[in-house]
Amino acid sequence: MKYEFTQDDLNEIETIKAKYPDVKAATLPALWVAQNRFGHVDGDVQKLVASTLDLPEAHVHGVANFYTQYYKEEKGKFVLDVCTCLSCQLCGGYEILEHAEKKLGIKKGETTDDGMFTLNEVECLGACGYAPMLQVTNDKYVNNLTPEKIDKLIDDLKSGKTPAYEQIEMPLRKVK
């Protein structure tokens, strides 16, 4: 087998299984464990998850393909998911996407030659008040984007600096 779970992963999967009365329910969380370990859940990883959970490969394959956050193939080291949906569109999400395309020299859906960045256009990420925004590799949100902020983010990531969690202050109600 090309991929194998570590003992820690297997222990984690056992803990996950105990949360549910049926092993099938562990499919989504086990796919997450796998993606965190291997960076993606391609066909081989899906087979590994299926055999680990003792579930049909077709089931795991069907689930992995239904959900957008599972990477069905290898991606860049950093995946930039730029939201362009409704509020982000209204606040310049497409300009941000275009700027990122230029900066990285790739089109949306593509990965840079050095394997560092994959750029995607994605649907609503639930940060509508802080538009436009993007998410880095299924993790941190980077909000209120400007072309300068994109440039800085990409330069930071290149030098190994990942973004911190951006806490958004609750807006103060300025009452007359």
Binding site: C85, C91, E123, C124, L125, C128, M170
Partner: protein, 431 residues
Amino acid sequence: MSTVDWKNYEPVLIPNIKDLHKIDVYRKNGGYEGWKAVLTDNEKWSDPKSVVNEVKSANIRGRGGAGFNAGLKWSFMPPADGGPRYLACNGDESEPGTFKDRKIFEYNPHIFIEGALIAAYAMEVTSIYVYIRGEYKAYIDMMEKAIQDAYDAGLIGKNIFGTDYSVEFYVHSGAGAYICGEETSMLESLEGKRGYPRVKPPFPAQKGLWGRPTTINNIETLSHVTSVINKGADWFKSVGAENHPGPLLYGISGHVNRPGVYELPSGMPILELINEVAGGMRNGKKLKAVIPGGSSTPVVRADQLDGVTMDSDSLREVGTMLGTAGMVVMDEDTDMVDMLWRITHFYHHESCGQCTPCRDGTGWLEKVMLKIKNGEGEIKDLDLLLDITTMMEGRTICALADAAAWPVRHTITRFRDEFEARCKKSVHAVA
């Protein structure tokens, strides 16, 4: 025009208290007292039914968008038979424009946990699952920690407060699928499957998770339960609009100066929300249109908004809905054709593909809208779009097809001149 005294309103869901997300701070501010009372104050809360009745009378209308009385929903659970029963908490926002529940995860997770525990006791539930969209990684981590802290404090688990009530509480992460916010799709996803909505009946209260009685409630809805138990149903009903009472999290986005989530009474006048709460329009532009509660709720023109308030009755009068109160504000420069095309793209992307009218219908809506957006459309395409919507609405297992059809129907109807201007001039007379 406003009868809502919002300027003196003190937030309860996300009050301005430093570090409220920490369990000790929450408890110092009266946290988990309601939960303790429900389990141990046998005079006030004689049995689970007494909790259901209080919540039912508070008329907490579901904050996930459907607006159904939460306590009434609870009362649909069949009598306990000794087997497992489930509460599934829906934290799978967002319908575009909706970003409110994350504020509870971030700033006051324990008010939600407490409300979910009270709901679980009221329905004699044995396990609680909170389903959070996978993109909310940061909030999933926060909730895992908050739930662990509550376990460590003896507030969740076996024989809570020395009573014979026991309940488990788990976090389940989604993985990117809007449809999983639909309640039966969420159950499928929790069971480890593709998120295909289920045919109802049977309803989840009869056959939910793993075929057992299950109730699904939104995160904000459950958080309100804590306030209803602490302050009483009468207090809750005294806040905001009569037929849609209580505090409400308004998520305001788009072309305003201060977008964000604001906790205020229900029934807020829309224009006060925009001009006073959210700081008015950006760059001094004029207001053009508002989508009041997420992308599926029909858009309203600015000239329709005088005196309109954020409650179901008032919004119905102008042909729209409260939805999730995730309000999207658009200024005079907004291109309604582009905006609507993006919404059709969203629903096409998110259709699960089970039902033909939705799978094909959402695709056709996007295709025709793209044509119009690119200046290739003809006037008759507008009628084609309206035709497609009638072939989608009410013809599918879940409401995604309706949610995709409404914005098309109403945006075209209410901004028809803009759509026609974008279409090619027809050399034939238009019927």
